[in-house]
Symmetry: C2
Subunit: 343 residues, 2 copies
Amino acid sequence: MALSEAKNRKRCILMKGPIYIRQSGCVTGPKEGSGSHFADGFDRIWEDDFGGEKNWEEAESALLKQAVEITLAKAGFGTGDVDCAFAGDLLSQSTASSYGLSGLGIPHYGIFGACSGSGEALALCSMLIDGGYIERGLAAASSHFASAEREFRFPLGYGSQRPLSASWTVTGSGAFLLDRDEIGEPLAKVTGVVMGEIVDPGITDAMNMGGCMAPAAALTITSALKEFPYLLENYDQIITGDLGEVGSQALMDLMLRQGYDIGERHMDCGLCIYDREKEDVHAGGSGCGCSAVMLAALILPKIKSGDWRRVLFAPTGALLSKVRTQEKMSVPSIAHGVVIERV
Amino acid sequence: MALSEAKNRKRCILMKGPIYIRQSGCVTGPKEGSGSHFADGFDRIWEDDFGGEKNWEEAESALLKQAVEITLAKAGFGTGDVDCAFAGDLLSQSTASSYGLSGLGIPHYGIFGACSGSGEALALCSMLIDGGYIERGLAAASSHFASAEREFRFPLGYGSQRPLSASWTVTGSGAFLLDRDEIGEPLAKVTGVVMGEIVDPGITDAMNMGGCMAPAAALTITSALKEFPYLLENYDQIITGDLGEVGSQALMDLMLRQGYDIGERHMDCGLCIYDREKEDVHAGGSGCGCSAVMLAALILPKIKSGDWRRVLFAPTGALLSKVRTQEKMSVPSIAHGVVIERV
């Protein structure tokens, strides 16, 4: 049955009770530290891109591990207090997550949703807590510019040219501690989840990931607007991950065709994370770390302070690999949504 | 806190009610068809390794897609009846799953647990159904010898030599339809889940994945034996995924040190799947498809027929990538457990 025929398709799930985002932590590279309006919200900014590690992959694992450790320290918990971690990244075989969480002694479900990883991790972790399967869980995601360039494009030393539609992979990681304890002052609460669905608009240009991902984002956002008991105006922000300029415009157009003008409420983490007067990042920031860092540094503080009461956080992921790209295949994409509200 | 210090670490979760494995489907390559004792249980055997596709990656996606379609057809359902799919594979960015499930119109959570993928998919799908978040879900995993060789080692044309400790990646996929409907005659039921934990014994030889994975398997199995209300003798089989000869012996030794003699109850899918008098597969079969195919073709039929009443299905995954291997890193591993019982 084709997507459009699945008339009763249900993609949205309301939590039975509030799932609290108890604490967050984020660590970034130096370009993010000096070139972002939101650097004040970063918990740690590395002085160089290695962070004391020997190679890019180890550096990305260290970003993730430090984000987890900072989150736990801020919340006053140890690894033994966490029942399970959900983490994802962009590298082959999710190695940034596997090596980053190895040795922490926390049960682990590895996830893969490309740059939608933070949304997928938050969604699954929220449901497992809400269902009573775990009490306290971690959701985390990471990316690193240099490990991503080696993974998907060319080693940095080659100095290859990038088209203007290409985005800049964020060097950073964000981690989030979730529970349902009615105590203290959590940052925000998760009240609903939109299950992502793979959509392939048939675009073969892997340097135009925004265009590839826009239809998946549109499906997730329209599903939320149709199924959840909130109208568009009940959301202070509709937040995508790394659509960039090209993808954001495509999303606007797709949403307008469905009768939704999200223009003034839409924020794309990739378009915001860098001060683009200072940093030339072409189409914007991208990577699993992009939306994760922005959630920790901007979105959760805005919700905690009361500036925003409810947002739809829907990071997008382009599910490509370099092998499939070389095989001239189009790029399927997905967007995992989470409704986050003020406590 | 180190693993051994987490004294109250809880890794095991009992389902609130039985989660039924309603139906299964599996598709394999020709080597598996002609070289396995269990080929009668395979739903479809390809005549060649391409299955009509243009390249190895597309072939693996087709294995997965066909396994899903066969499962749904056997159960009398369409894709519109499935709320969500969990799938994983070995390729970079889980492309076999992403491309294999693209276009089916089923919401999707991509998972990565390397060869433990079938266990992770079954565990997460079971909990989401048990918690009432979805009604009907798919869990699936795939691997392909040739796409895995290209991914991890050398393209086949190079004719590179393999050490005796190396395993042979199974060309195959298994899919499972889960629900909690008290109707019909399901194959079996899931009653518990063991959350896997990343364990790194420090082995850097990626051609000895059995040795790398044995400690993770031992942790998952001992956790089940300590936390669930079943003694070792209450399990008809303790089933690992692809430890092979080297890893299975290591697991026996590790379990004996903890006071458990699992010898006569232990089955390793990798050691069984091929008729090793006919097929030289060195240390045994491996890959996400190995345990998934064996679950569909052997384990579930044995449970359905009453030969086995309860098994612990604990496929193992070596979380390596070729980049980390070239960086001389050791191989962290994980094993995701599921308790499967007769209905």
